[in-house]
């Protein structure tokens, strides 16, 4: 392995009292750090160590919940450290995952209505809209250019959580091309379900209605959390996204959106998706060329 982005230092190990081990792979977000977190999580899961309750991979860190009555803390730490040492010699270069097209209605009326209720005291620029602000802080010409940048390159699900099934998304582009937008000055008490949001360098899709501090640009047209498990994509589990999924946003019109709603009601909606092998070194060497290769998988479905 070579290249500055891959040169991660040894992780920092620390405890959340008697039930949680926290492994900080990197203080800063990077694709390489997220990849290492996912590798650690996968190998720890494969170890089937008795007493592990939850393995929660996050953007640049790993949280492990354990039952200390079964698994002594030092045994867990020793195991994870051994996995980490092994990874420095045999770090996986590839990830078996899937690429998914997520239809988004940008500039929808639902987020627009909520946005209007949270301006003064909440937003940096109460006079404008979230997407106008996002375009401005990224030195882009206008909202249309921001939206184009938002959906033209794919994103990696770097973490699932906060609330049930919410994906954090990291755009697969060079750091200097990352869209970065500050969160609201003070969090809203309301966010429409399926809002496509952005805070710092992360995108997200709000899986449930509720509080939120990310800037809002649109709504995803189809569910991502379905406790009733009515749709085919939820047959195995009520949560759709998994860490490592690759997401391509696809802009849709109001007419498309309504047509998707009818498919959902009829129970026929399925996400367009394909299995892909994600190659870290290719993604780091030339993201845009590699993204074109990844997106080809979605063609002809």
């Amino acid at each position: 392995m070579s290249g500055p982005e891959l040169a991660l230092q040894e992780a920092r190990y620390t405890w959340g009292a008697d039930e949680f081990l926290f492994v900080e792979v990197s203080e800063a977000m990077s694709l390489a750090a997220n990849f290492k977190v996912m590798s650690l999580a996968a190998r720890l899961s494969d170890s089937n160590l008795p007493g592990i309750v939850d393995i929660c991979p996050a953007n640049a860190s790993l949280l492990v919940r354990f039952d200390p009555d079964v698994l002594p803390p030092h045994t867990l730490e020793k195991t994870v450290r051994a996995i980490e040492r092994d990874l420095t010699h045999h770090q996986e270069q590839t990830l078996q995952t899937r690429i998914i097209e997520v239809p988004v209605w940008y500039g929808d009326p639902f987020t627009a209505e909520v946005e209007k209720r949270f301006r003064d005291g909440f937003h940096q620029e109460p006079e404008g809209t979230d997407v106008e602000f996002a375009a401005k802080v990224n030195n882009l010409k206008d909202s249309a250019e921001f939206i184009e940048r938002h959906h033209s390159q794919p994103w990696l699900v770097s973490m699932v959580g906060f609330v049930a099934g919410l994906p954090f998304l990291f755009q697969l582009v060079e750091r200097e091309k990352q869209l970065q937008v500050p969160k609201y000055l003070s969090p809203r008490t309301d966010t429409p379900k399926l809002t496509v949001g952005h805070g710092g360098c992360f995108g997200c899709i709000y899986s449930v209605r509720g509080a939120g501090g990310y800037q809002m640009f649109g709504v995803a047209a189809a569910p991502i959390f379905d406790p009733a498990q009515a749709l085919e994509d939820f047959k195995d589990f009520m949560v759709f996204f998994r860490p490592g999924d690759i997401v391509k946003f696809s802009p849709v019109t109001e007419t498309d959106y309504n047509s998707i709603q009818r498919q959902i009601s009829a129970g026929t909606f399925r996400y367009r998706q394909r299995p892909v092998t994600f190659d870290l070194s290719k993604a780091l060497a030339n993201p845009e060329r590699y993204n074109r290769e990844l997106l080809e998988a979605l063609n002809g479905i």
Partner: protein, 328 residues
């Protein structure tokens, strides 16, 4: 067999020991906030430790049973009435078909529990009957109870026979006070606190604010300061920000350095605020009992001490079950 809800109370939900193993996709453990009180209710009515109970928050429900049932009310001190007549807490009670159970004003703490012989019978979701309201899963239709709900009660036939002991002895009932010492283990991002910040956390007096629910409790107090640093990429601009990470249940975050938040059983599973310490597992019930206004000090202990306290709590639960003639 069912309870018909006449008035629902403030936030009455079905809870059990919790839903584990799905925190990695943001589904919290849920479960009774005060596990100790909830499980002793089950002990009194001949249930197992896994049976579901009703958790009442400050203002309890009024409900009518359609069958004779054995119940017990445990947890925060509250006046209990059956058909308007006072009944004791932490004691086995027998209701006849048509009897109405209701509650007076809570006298301390936050939550009390209605355990019923046979348990509350709602479908299990992902291995638990606990309500996760935000995700609208588990419990009674994934939500708090409403007027007119018919909440099914399980069949007690398979349960063991009731012991001769009718009440939890006084010395096994928790004390509900307005002052708490909560034991914490420093760690996670405690190195980000300044010397004064750490000193304030450990030696300041913190007060539970009204912003306290199943997700977490917010405290007011002296605030903390952070060490200076250039924020890492993706972390956000405030010194209390980190690159969004998994949140330990019981962890303490201090957004903006002002008001610490202890995440509890319906915790959000991750976010971008630095956690500086975690409440030991043995003190999570104690925190659950903290009403707004509770004066709190945080005492740092080692992980070793946390493990000893965990063992002591487990022993104490076993002794409490034995004291009511039940086996945990």
């Amino acid at each position: 067999m069912a309870f018909r809800i006449k008035t629902p109370g403030l936030a009455t939900t079905v809870q059990d020991q919790g839903r584990f193993g799905h925190y990695n996709v943001g589904i919290p453990q849920s479960g009774s906030m005060d596990q100790y009180s909830a499980e002793l209710g089950n002990a009194l009515v001949g249930n197992s430790v896994q049976d579901a109970v009703l958790e009442c928050t400050y203002v309890g429900p009024a409900l009518i049973t359609d069958h004779h049932v054995v119940i017990a009310i445990t947890g925060a001190p509250v006046d209990i009435k059956v058909n308007g007549m006072p009944r004791p807490q932490w004691t086995r009670l027998r209701l006849n078909a048509g009897d109405e159970l209701s509650f007076g004003v809570i006298q301390g703490g936050t939550r009390y529990y209605i355990a019923v012989s046979g348990g509350i019978d709602v479908p299990e979701v992902l291995g638990s009957r606990s309500t996760y309201s935000l995700g609208v899963i588990g419990g009674f239709k994934g939500r708090k109870l409403e007027t007119g709900d018919e909440v099914a009660i399980g069949d007690p036939i398979n349960n063991r026979t009731l012991s001769a002991v009718e009440a939890v002895p006084e010395n096994f009932r928790p004390v509900f006070t307005k002052e708490q010492v909560v034991r914490i283990v420093l760690g996670l991002y405690d190195h980000r606190l300044s010397v004064e910040g750490l000193d304030n956390l450990l030696h300041g007096e913190w007060t539970v604010t009204p912003v306290a629910d199943r997700m977490g409790l917010r405290y007011s107090g002296p605030g903390v300061t952070w060490k200076d640093r250039e924020q890492p990429f993706g972390a956000g601009s405030d010194p209390s920000n980190i690159v969004d990470a998994g949140y330990a249940v019981g962890s303490i975050q201090i957004p903006g350095g002002t008001q610490p938040i202890i995440l509890h059983r319906d915790a959000v599973s991750g976010g971008g605020y630095a956690m500086v310490a975690t409440v030991i597992s043995a003190d999570m019930d104690l925190v659950a009992r903290a009403a707004p206004g509770t004066a709190t000090t945080f005492r740092a202990v080692s992980q070793h001490e946390a493990l000893s306290a965990r063992e002591e709590l487990s022993d104490r639960k076993n002794e409490a079950w034995a004291a009511v003639g039940a086996t945990r």
